[in-house]
């Protein structure tokens, strides 16, 4: 969490260019901060926008110190702690939050869709049960009432349950910016610690996910040290049987807590599962190999080595459960 703050601060405050300048720069930020406050000026300017176009325009206008405000569940705590000091907040909450819909055979979520809307959506529950399961682990009821799909994706936390699901369900992130619309594959989207592929002044406008197939099973597993706390590690898994034979035809993993960003389980390793029904020992070996290709960190909640051991177990369990469910669905219909 501390590292998260530090890098967040890096991105908010321009780095000084001369020794001793940091102190003055800091003082200046604080004084500017105060100056505005004393004269009744707020610490940041505020603009409510009603469309993505307006949002992008506003971000452009307000420049580098501007930040988009969606659910506020990640951003505002940082501002309350004075770790982040944007000069302008562009409030996206004027943009309609659409309930999950089906579009072109995929589940379509708008950026401003709240976690709670997804959780209570019958459509999502049927079409993307993995998503519904995972969202139940997100924070607490208040976080889910305000937190948004777009906000969570843009924040890019290494432990984001939504990110794990996006990776496991072939997620496509829709972004809009000065250069127009862009579709970014989930696997390309999370690039570093709290860093996404979004360009400056680009914002997330939606997420599209593959819907559950008839011969597919999914599973979400996570361990947190307390209900609602950040995951130590987590796994979203889908296993799909081949159309003709009862063997694995496709498998995907979305992993959280295993790296500085959410990552997909290594494709090459997973491909060894294709064309067969693996034994438990074989699943475990795959879990072990996938884990070996991750880089978990040590922080105040857990050591890297524990995360490594945990993730292997979670992957194994998730794959086992997903396979079992795939088999059940295949035999049922």
């Amino acid at each position: 969490m501390k590292a998260m703050f530090e890098s967040a601060v890096d991105r908010a405050t321009p780095l000084p260019s001369a020794p001793g300048a940091l102190e003055d720069a800091h003082a200046r930020v604080v004084l500017d901060d105060w100056e505005r406050r004393w004269y009744g000026e707020p610490r940041f300017s505020y603009e409510l926008v009603r469309s993505y176009e307006e949002a992008v325009h506003a971000l452009r206008e307000h420049g580098e110190g501007a930040k988009a405000l969606a659910g506020g569940q990640s951003l505002v705590p940082l501002m309350n702690l004075r770790v982040l000091r944007p000069s302008a907040l562009i409030d996206l909450n004027g943009i309609a939050a659409m309930a999950p819909q089906l579009e072109g055979g995929r589940l379509s979520l708008s950026a401003m869709t709240r976690y709670s809307q997804v959780l209570f959506s019958e459509l999502a529950r049927c079409q993307t049960p993995l998503l519904t399961t995972a969202i139940a682990y997100v924070g607490n009821v208040r976080v889910r009432n305000r937190g948004t799909i777009g906000g969570a994706l843009a924040h890019g936390q290494a432990t984001s349950e939504l990110a794990a699901v996006a990776l496991a369900l072939g997620g496509e992130i829709l972004a809009y910016g000065p250069t127009g619309t862009r579709v970014i594959d989930a696997e390309e989207f999370f690039v570093g610690h709290l860093r996404t592929d979004l360009r400056p002044e680009e914002i997330v406008t939606g997420l599209r996910l593959e819907v559950a197939q008839s011969r597919q099973g999914s599973s979400f597993r996570e361990l947190a040290r307390r209900s609602g706390a950040e995951a130590i590690a987590g796994v979203a898994a889908t296993v799909t049987l081949s159309p003709e034979r009862d063997v694995i035809g496709g498998v995907r993993l979305g992993l959280i807590g295993v790296d500085e960003r959410p990552v997909a389980g290594d494709r090459t390793v997973l491909s060894s599962l294709l064309g067969r029904i693996p034994t438990p020992a074989e699943i475990d070996e795959v879990a072990s190999d996938v884990t070996a290709r991750t880089a978990p960190v040590t922080d105040s909640q857990s050591s890297a080595s524990y995360r490594r051991r945990l993730v292997r177990v979670l992957i194994r369990r998730a794959l086992t459960e997903a396979l079992q469910r795939a088999e059940e669905r295949a035999s049922a219909g």
Partner: protein
């Protein structure tokens, strides 16, 4: 209240002969209201239950007074106070753990418009706070500065104060204060601090105090013992995390520095006056109802800073600590390192305990000397221990200071002695319940500090009830999981160590319309401290609860009751109010008797009226008179319906001899047992608590609802301490001061805490109650540790028992069970290693 009920009260003084037992606390005989000769001190058995007539208010689960305001949301806490011209305060804190202060630059902060004051050490008239000496061996008297002058000893130490027109300006100004440090070597581990050549936290040395308790000949006894079980246990820094952070408002009124703060102890007013070099009458402290405390508000928190800022600016000042500041810098619960050597016979009787305790006191003394005393005094638990040697040291480090935290040292050692008991049972292949039964203390036994127990010891009953309530064992929910059961017994003192000559007072006044005012200096942490007094007064005087108002914690206007800590309030202020009410009754009863035409002993106070007992049969009016009418009659006879009672339990005549650590320590103890069933995931180390029971002997429950609430709340806090709470310090710096990272249990983490109340009827509080507030937390950690050990055959010895630490136990054991055989769970393969379980799928 019937005379039979009166009979149940702690009785008259008993003359002390050459040998113990000590006298039962109570006023000298002459001060007691006259009673029938049948009333005498209670003997051991539970005669109280049968002898006492049912009470109307006491013993009932009534919800009243502040609790009503709390569900309405209308109660005012310390921060809910605003005055014209009020400023906002902020403490500027050190960012390094051990350093000299070279210079402090406040000019930029002062220059900020809207800043009213920036204070440093120079501005503090008497910049020192010295904890009153306990008289313990080798005790260092260390002055704690209010604001650091030339030395910083912990990260978060206050260096300067700011007051400004708005909180935002105060926060900005605080950031502009610049401190130049010269970093010095620090020491961050108490064992390292004990080594020769370790950096000194204080020039006088790193050992604050070293308590010794000796009884018999431990070395000989251990040598002769059939078995000796050794164990080392470690606990962590814990944070109180009361939902209300440290807060208060100060102002000057009639030239008196007046503070309204969230505090357990208003008596700090004298210390504040000393710091300001003011006469004591120039400082007034009022206690708001607290939003929880658990010991965090026992020492001064915002008081001195508010007082300084108010006194300097002559304007009202509010200070509310941010949550992160509270986690970073408020005092913490002590981590203990505990080493036990327990000697026993082959049939499981303890012959000796050799115990070493080390507590990390952090950078300044606070209450560490006392916490380590409690640890020492309670380190053998509720077991007869003929030969004892305990060494208990509070050691300075450059970590955040530690002080009072619910359980106060006795909490930590519960893990020590209850782990040892289970280990002893395992070593002797004995039943864990039986080994305890063979060693339980009984009334009349002598405990390690040399005193004789003079009240019922119902720990055995609490053990039975707790285990019975656990019910049938659950089956594991998956092949990779194991279910285990564990329990832990404890004893916990209530009331202050007797040589402090504790006292409490209460002032009761009946008003013209028969309503009652109680004024008592108690403070209320949320456990019904104030409301209980109303319940007691209502029972005795027959005033309905809605017609009683209670005024608490004001050094100017309420008689001193001492603070709310050491689980002393029910014992002390409860007794003060009880006796005040009895005295008031005795004062007005003759007036009533005359009016009703009956003997004084026949006057009944009930439901706001006074009647003659058996009036109907005598043909007299049943209605009697109202309390209001009675007050008029009293006034006509120049009888003032008001009393002030100072409750002074008889002070122990002998002192506490600190060398052998012998003679009377605490007035009495509360005994209990917790039991739990857990499920452990062998592959992830995750622990799920399936069932949990708390059972304590409360003597008598003044309010069963509140007693249960304490038991459930204490158990939950104990479970957090056992499983998930940890303040992590790295070279004196906190890894995280976010609430998001300090994990306290939520409703979604733990099962319901089932409660069983034992009422032995023998306690030294009013109506034979025992203090319950702190006794209820210590059992949780060993209960869980024992349950986990039962599940996996390996014993956790370090808190919190995180999933990672569980896996580390498997690693350390290297595949073999460390403590003997593991009872197989029917239908499931016996526990092997995590790897085995893994392969099983």
């Amino acid at each position: 209240m019937s005379d039979a009920a009166l009979a149940a009260m702690p009785g008259e003084e008993i003359t002390v002969s050459e040998a113990p037992p000590p006298s039962i606390p109570g006023p000298p005989v002459a001060d007691l209201p006259s009673r029938s000769p049948e009333t005498s001190e209670l003997q051991g058995t539970d005669t109280a239950a049968g002898a006492v007539a049912p009470m109307r208010v006491v013993g009932q689960p009534v919800a009243h007074h502040d609790f009503i305001e709390k569900v309405k949301g209308s109660i005012l806490y310390a921060a809910d106070w605003k005055l014209p011209g009020m400023l906002y305060g902020r403490v500027v804190r050190a960012t390094v753990a051990s350093a000299g202060i070279v210079s402090i630059h406040t000019d930029k902060a002062r220059a900020l418009r809207g800043v009213a004051a920036v204070l440093t050490a120079e501005d503090v008239p008497s910049n020192r706070l010295v904890e009153k000496a306990t008289g313990g061996p080798g005790e260092l008297l260390i002055a704690t500065p209010i604001l650091a002058r030339d030395r910083v000893r912990y990260a978060g130490e206050p260096i300067a104060l700011v007051a400004a027109e708005t909180q935002q300006i105060a926060d900005a100004a605080a950031e502009l204060v610049q401190v130049d440090y010269e970093e010095l070597p620090g020491v961050f581990d108490p064992e390292a601090a004990l080594l020769p050549g370790a950096p000194l936290v204080h020039d006088a040395g790193n050992v604050l105090i070293s308590w010794h308790i000796q009884r018999g000949d431990v070395q000989a006894a251990l040598a002769a013992a059939d078995v000796v079980v050794e164990g080392e246990y470690r606990t962590q820094h814990v944070e109180h995390a009361a939902l209300e952070t440290e807060s208060g408002v100060g102002w000057i009124e009639n030239d008196v520095v007046t503070l309204r703060v969230s505090t357990q102890i208003i008596e700090h007013a004298t210390e504040i006056a000393e710091i300001l070099k003011l006469p004591a009458n120039k400082v007034r402290v009022m206690a708001a109802y607290m939003g929880g405390s658990f010991g965090s508000k026992e020492g001064m928190t915002v008081e001195t800073y508010l007082a300084l800022l108010v006194w300097k600016t002559r304007r009202p000042v509010r200070m509310v600590w941010s949550r992160q500041e509270s986690i970073l810098a408020s005092t913490k619960g002590h981590p203990f390192i505990m080493r036990y050597r327990t000697g026993a016979t082959n049939d499981g009787r303890i012959v000796a305990q050799d115990i070493d305790l080390i507590g990390d006191a952090g950078a300044y003394p606070h209450k560490s000397a006392r916490v380590l005393f409690y640890g020492a005094a309670l380190s053998c638990g509720p077991y007869l221990t003929p030969n004892v040697s305990v060494r208990s040291r509070a050691v300075f480090t450059n970590n955040v200071p530690t002080s009072a935290f619910r359980g106060f040292g006795a909490r930590q050692v519960t893990l020590g002695y209850e782990s040892q008991m289970d280990r002893l049972a395992e070593t002797l292949a004995m039943d864990k319940v039986e080994v305890r039964r063979r060693n339980f203390l009984h009334k009349g036994d002598v405990i390690p500090t040399g005193e004789t127990l003079d009240t019922a010891v119902a720990v055995g009953e609490t053990l039975e009830r707790a285990l019975a309530r656990l019910g049938e064992p659950s089956a594991p929910s998956a092949p990779s999981k194991r279910v285990g059961r564990g329990f832990a017994c404890n004893m916990h003192p209530y009331g202050r160590t007797v040589w402090f000559r504790d006292s409490s007072s209460a002032w009761l006044s009946m008003q013209a319309d028969g309503t009652l005012l109680i004024r008592c200096g108690v403070t209320d942490v949320g456990g019904g401290q104030a409301a209980s007094l109303c319940q007691i007064a209502s029972e005795i005087l027959g005033v309905p609860l809605s017609r009683i108002s209670v005024y608490i914690g004001d050094t100017a206007l309420t008689p001193s009751a001492g603070g709310t800590f050491a689980t002393r309030q029910l014992l002390m202020s409860g007794n003060a109010v009880m006796r005040a009410a009895l005295q008031l009754r005795e004062l007005v009863a003759p007036v009533a008797a005359e009016a009703l035409g009956c003997p004084v002993a026949g006057v009944v106070f009930e439901d706001g009226r006074v009647t003659a007992a058996g009036a109907a049969s005598a043909g007299a009016s049943e209605e009697g008179i109202s309390l209001g009418e009675l007050v008029s009659m009293c006034e006509a006879r120049s009888v003032d319906p008001t009393t002030l009672y100072v409750f002074h339990p008889e002070a122990e005549r002998r002192g506490f001899d600190t060398e052998p650590g012998q003679l009377v320590s605490f007035p009495d103890y509360t005994y209990g047992t917790h039991a739990a069933e857990v499920e452990v995931d062998l592959e992830t180390g995750e622990i799920e608590v399936l069932k949990y029971v708390s059972c304590h002997d409360v003597g008598r429950a003044i309010n069963p609802l509140r007693v249960e609430g304490q038991m459930q709340g204490g158990a939950m806090q104990g479970l957090g301490y056992a499983l998930m709470e940890e303040i992590i310090l790295d070279e004196g710096k906190m890894a995280s001061s976010l609430l998001a990272n300090y994990l306290v249990p939520t409703s979604d983490d733990m099962p319901d805490v089932m409660v069983e109340i034992v009422e032995s009827g023998e306690g030294k509080g009013p109506i034979n109650a025992r203090g319950i507030g702190e006794a209820v937390i210590g059992n949780a950690a060993p209960t869980i540790a024992n349950a986990v050990a039962d599940a996996i055959g390996l014993r956790p010895t370090q808190l919190p028992i995180t999933p990672e630490r569980v896996l580390a136990l498997f690693d350390a054991a290297d595949g073999t069970s460390a403590s003997g055989s593991v009872s197989p769970v029917p239908g499931v393969r016996s526990a092997g290693t995590a790897a085995d379980a893994c392969a099983a799928g």
